[in-house]
Symmetry: C2
Subunit: 664 residues, 2 copies
């Protein structure tokens, strides 16, 4: 994989330390654990809600100040006002670029592809750090406040995930905030659940759409899902909704400064068109097709631009970023001067406003904004694609609506409704979300009656888009070198066996009791992250006794307490000198490296018995299982290593449903 | 397991026949298959929508006739009118009981536990037959039209599942409707996806809640879920919504007879309370607690009653059923004479009607209806628990609302809103649904603003209910002997190994080339459904070469074409005399039995080479893997058999994420 990307260990490693901890647990452990899980869900909800409020208020207030200042100056001189406006915006955007490039590089972009990768099983370096969280929050305030053609929704999802992950570690390890008693969510597995909650919370906060948040996490982001997790995710979203609602009530009293309404997107079009005739289905289908085409084109263009920018950046350093962000100022200049994007969208969706926009100005706006959105995408600022997508979509949607009004004169057609459908179609054509997008659209417009129409448009735009390329997040993940595993195996895998997939491998394994120097040389000679451990059975035959992870080996080599003089197994009754938390991977994902290990000549000659530390039962598959089946196993259980083994000589037992129906 | 319940085979059996069919597929096969899948989703939607409309119209029309007739007669004689009314209801209920007991026994009850079991991996005999479908439709018309304390929602889910399954087989095999070219959904795996669509369609049709349908299928019913299935399920639900909407438009023109509004539940309370103060949260939480308590009590009482009835039935035969159904007539008599339940609920939810009901009459109604619902539950008629649950819940919800109005005098409180929350709390306390219930409530009331309140109430009622017992469907599934596997392994499994789970087993296996008489004796000597097949390797060591299913062995024994004279393997180049459809299990689930096989003495002496027919790569686990891990494997991949094998002697290869990132 690309640098900085590494798989996560979702598997429970049932080594001595783990089993001992399990055995030592008091009977209060389970209730405590459950309580803590729910407490954390609550805290994630509150934290994400507060972060969203903070970002929104900051953006709204900056816009307010900007407006007030420009307005005051413009009375005296048109030119100075314009100049101040530009300077204000540039300052905001540059501060965002500065924060991200110098302080939190992982905060650039939307963050959703990375989170998606995380929940699919690959960790990108640094995405869930405290500094990333801070960079994301302040960076998106700068970039959105500075009027770029991007939104704060994607960044909010990332923010939610960061908050969840930091809570799970009991605070940031680096800034010494971590407290011991809450650190029981140490495995990647537990952290995954928290991050899922965080994701849903982010969407719930961004759109004030709690159900949409749950569905987004479910459909778009996670790769594994259990129904009891749904309940917790749902709770988190509900908490976010309540927090945001309270804050907005509080702001109504005017305590929040300029533009104090909080700026949460809610486009209430409930006064609009409630019913539709069958004739209208054709233009609506056309909107779907347009959405699919423009969405697919958007994905493709952003792909090219990002690639081009990457090679260019490589040569010229940071200058390009500044160039791009300056470029985007045209956005505001050319279109809606003092409006925030939320207000612009509110106007586009508005009902009862026939011909408020001329077709010409809409087309101009569409072309300009589309280009700007493409160019802005992938700059070094936190950037969401929801709001630009909604802007683009609602513009051509409104265009179609105007055409329909002209054409079918007698119908009770509302252009605002068409704008909404356009927005849905563009998001569907670009992000390829379905159920979650549909629910989000319904929740932000507060109009259930349009559901079948939104569904229709989404069906079409997604199908059209899928014909051309993959969804935006998949394309972006690929670009960033995040190797996502799709939910279905590829067709070729059906005709391959597991053995075919590892045909050219020379398996590197370790004996149970290894000399330190041998271990070091194995670790140096390759980059593999897991090694089978082989032992001799009672009759001298060789036996695979488990899998040891590179990271665990490095921990053992560094701590040195387990080194022994004799080359023989240490026996089962050894004192356990480690607890599981010693082996926990730091959240920064850059764990120890073999170069950090410094051993004396004497120590190199000692031995290490690996048996207490290995994973005694990794998943195994027979060598002629088809790769498609192996893929399903790997994907659905979220594994990191699978052993391909020869056919067994006999079957010890058969497990069926009956054997798993134990009573507790 | 109990009689008539059997596991499903979700695994792909990669035997010769399968591989040959895969190889022979033209390049048009994949597009054809995809097209057919979507076509079927469409048909399922249309079919379920039409079934729902039919049931609703029939029920509404029966109620209408009943009303008209009684009203006409009552002008002359009060007593005769009353008598006619009773006779009318009894006739409907008896016809329902008659249909179910004599024609389609699998149509009794709600059907949701059985469907849930089906999607969890166990097939109950006869639940997806054509006769069950017919029985369900006409049975629920009789029982709901006859005024029993039950609804048509659960039955609609079952109806949708039946339609889906029948479509998947290309019609009912028994009634010779099956056509060859559509029968490509023959594996249990494909049928599972269709049934999931059917489920969602049922809910979507019952409540006109397409998103709720998708979520119901996702949260409550299925045990496996892939995100690309979500898209198809969503499509099906959308189709249902459109079909139902069109039919209702058509009915508005008065072509549908009495009560022609179609009778789909839509309780529009959008005129009601939009906002709430924090003081109101306490009474709302109390509603949640009441819901949890009454719901848990409901589950417990229905459990006892069903148990009691079962033993009683055992002695007295069918009479009990008649008795029970007569008993339920009190429902209508005592409460809402001529109203359908939908109308009663509409009244309870209605806003702006302070003190329309006296507290006393509500309490009386609550007690009576609760008892009736408990008694009716589990009679031999198709019965849904949604509508009774909503009735019960909204009654006590309204009671609390009346109390709140009295107590906090100044607030703008609507009793209808409290009724709605009560309904949500009872359903949450009894069925323990969360996200899906929430969305369904929002969709049927058409009021998004209440979402946080519904969430709060559901959180509390589910938590309270969970404290006492399991959800209604789980309790019922247990009663009916459907062994559902929970999504999490039991705690004890963490300390057990795979070997422990099959400690007392003497594995029954077959040699690769077996004598017919040996096969027969193995099949007769036990009831196992799968057998490991063992062969000798090149050096004479024994090798497990796969798993053969009992059902496949029976097919082979019956067809006889593969019998051979020599006791040696038939070689790889054999002519394949079977295609996969020969091995397809009939949907009736009662496959062949060993007693159906009749062989001559000569044939018994012949041999059969099992190699071409077995599953060459069943999933295997090493014997000391913890049972919790085995459970996860079994549950998440939907398996039927897992081989527990000794530790491997060496590792042939290691598969990691990198090896699965093939380009196509
Ligand atoms: N012990 C080993 N012996 C031989 N080949 C191995 C061994 N471990 C891994 N490989 C192979 O080397 C390649 C890279 O292995 P690696 O362990 O880096 O996994 P990965 O897919 O890169 O995921 P990650 O490094 O994030 O865990 C894979 O093709 C894998 O099959
Ligand atoms: N070939 C076999 N040899 C020994 N024991 C077996 C064999 N097959 C199954 N068993 C054991 O017998 C019991 C019942 O097996 P059976 O095959 O009937 O499975 P089941 O759990 O009842 O599910 P189903 O019958 O629906 O497939 C289980 O405990 C299983 O472990
Ligand atoms: Mg690697
Ligand atoms: Mg059995």
């Amino acid at each position: 994989f690309a640098g900085g990307v590494e798989s996560l260990d979702y598997e429970v490693i049932e080594n001595y330390a783990y089993r001992e901890e399990q055995a030592q647990r008091s009977k209060f452990w389970v209730p405590y654990y459950v309580m803590l899980k729910w407490l954390f869900s609550l805290l994630i909800g509150v934290g994400t809600g507060l972060a969203a409020i903070f970002i929104n208020l900051a953006v709204e207030n900056f816009s307010g100040w900007k407006y007030a200042a420009t307005f005051a100056i413009i009375q005296h001189s048109y030119f100075v006002g314009f100049f101040v406006y530009i300077v204000f915006n540039l300052a905001l955007v540059f501060s965002s670029v500065y924060i991200v490039t110098n302080f939190a590089p992982a905060a650039a972009g939307s963050g959703i592809p990375e989170i998606k990768g995380y929940l699919n099983g690959v960790d990108t370096h640094g995405i869930l750090l405290f500094r990333t969280l801070v960079g994301k929050i302040f960076g998106s305030i700068g970039s959105v406040g500075g009027g770029l053609a991007l939104g704060k929704e994607g960044p909010l999802v990332h923010t939610g995930a960061c908050i969840a992950s930091l809570l799970g570690q009991g605070g940031s390890a680096k800034y010494h905030l971590s407290s011991r008693w809450v650190r029981i969510f140490e495995s990647d597995r537990d952290r995954r659940d928290l991050v899922t909650c965080g994701c849903a919370a982010g969407v719930a906060a961004a759109f004030r759409a709690p159900v949409g948040g749950v569905l987004f996490a479910l459909e778009e982001v996670t790769s594994w899902w259990r129904s009891h997790l749904m309940w917790r995710v749902f709770f988190t979203s509900a908490v976010v909704a309540v927090v945001v609602r309270s804050a907005m009530n509080w702001c109504k009293s005017g305590k929040c400064g300029h533009f104090g309404s909080g700026g949460f997107i809610i486009w209430d079009i409930s006064g609009g068109q409630e019913d539709y005739s069958y004739q209208e289905l054709l233009p609506m289908a056309i909107i779907g097709v347009i959405g699919g085409l423009l969405g697919a084109l958007f994905n493709q263009l952003t792909l090219y631009i990002t690639k081009w920018r990457r090679t260019y950046l490589h040569k010229k350093g940071k200058r390009v970023k500044f160039y791009c962000s300056k470029d985007n100022e045209y956005n505001d200049l050319a279109t809606i001067f003092f409006n925030t994007q939320d207000d612009a969208i509110r106007n586009l969706f508005s009902a009862k406003t026939f011909h408020e926009y001329s077709a010409q100005s809409l087309i101009t706006f569409l072309v300009m904004f589309y280009s700007l959105a493409v160019v802005t995408f992938g700059t070094a600022v936190p950037a969401g694609q929801f709001v630009p997508g909604i802007m683009i979509g609602s513009t051509y949607g409104r265009l179609v609506g105007m055409f329909v009004v002209k054409f079918y004169k007698k119908l009770n057609v509302e252009e605002g409704t068409y704008a909404l459908l356009g927005a849905a179609s563009f998001l569907g054509g670009s992000m390829r979300m379905t159920v979650s997008l549909c629910v989000i659209m319904v929740e932000i417009t507060n109009n259930l009656k349009l559901l079948p129409l939104i569904m229709l448009v989404l069906l079409i735009s997604k199908a059209v888009g899928d014909f051309f390329n993959e969804g935006l997040y998949e394309v972006q993940a690929q670009l960033r070198g995040i190797p996502l595993l799709d939910s279905r195996p590829k067709q070729v895998m059906r005709n391959m066996s597991a053995k075919d997939a590892c045909k050219n491998q020379k398996v590197v394994s370790l004996p149970r009791v290894s000399r330190i120097v041998d271990i070091i040389s194995v670790l140096r000679s390759n980059k593999h992250n897991g090694f089978p451990v082989v032992d001799r059975g009672q009759n001298g035959e060789s036996l695979v006794i488990g899998l040891i992870l590179r990271s665990h080996l490095l921990v053992l080599l560094q701590s040195k307490v387990d080194f022994q003089n004799s080359p023989f197994p240490c026996g089962p009754g050894i004192l356990n000198r480690h607890n599981t938390s010693d082996f926990v991977k730091p959240a920064s994902s850059k764990g120890k490296s073999i170069d950090d290990i410094h051993l004396t000549e004497d120590e190199l000659g000692l031995y290490l018995d690996l048996a207490p530390f290995l994973n005694p039962s990794p998943y195994i598959v027979p060598e002629d299982m088809s790769l498609a089946k192996v893929y399903n196993l790997f994907r659905q259980l979220g594994l990191r290593h699978i052993f391909v083994v020869p056919r067994p000589s006999h079957v010890v037992g058969l497990i069926t449903r009956q054997d798993l129906l134990l009573e507790e």
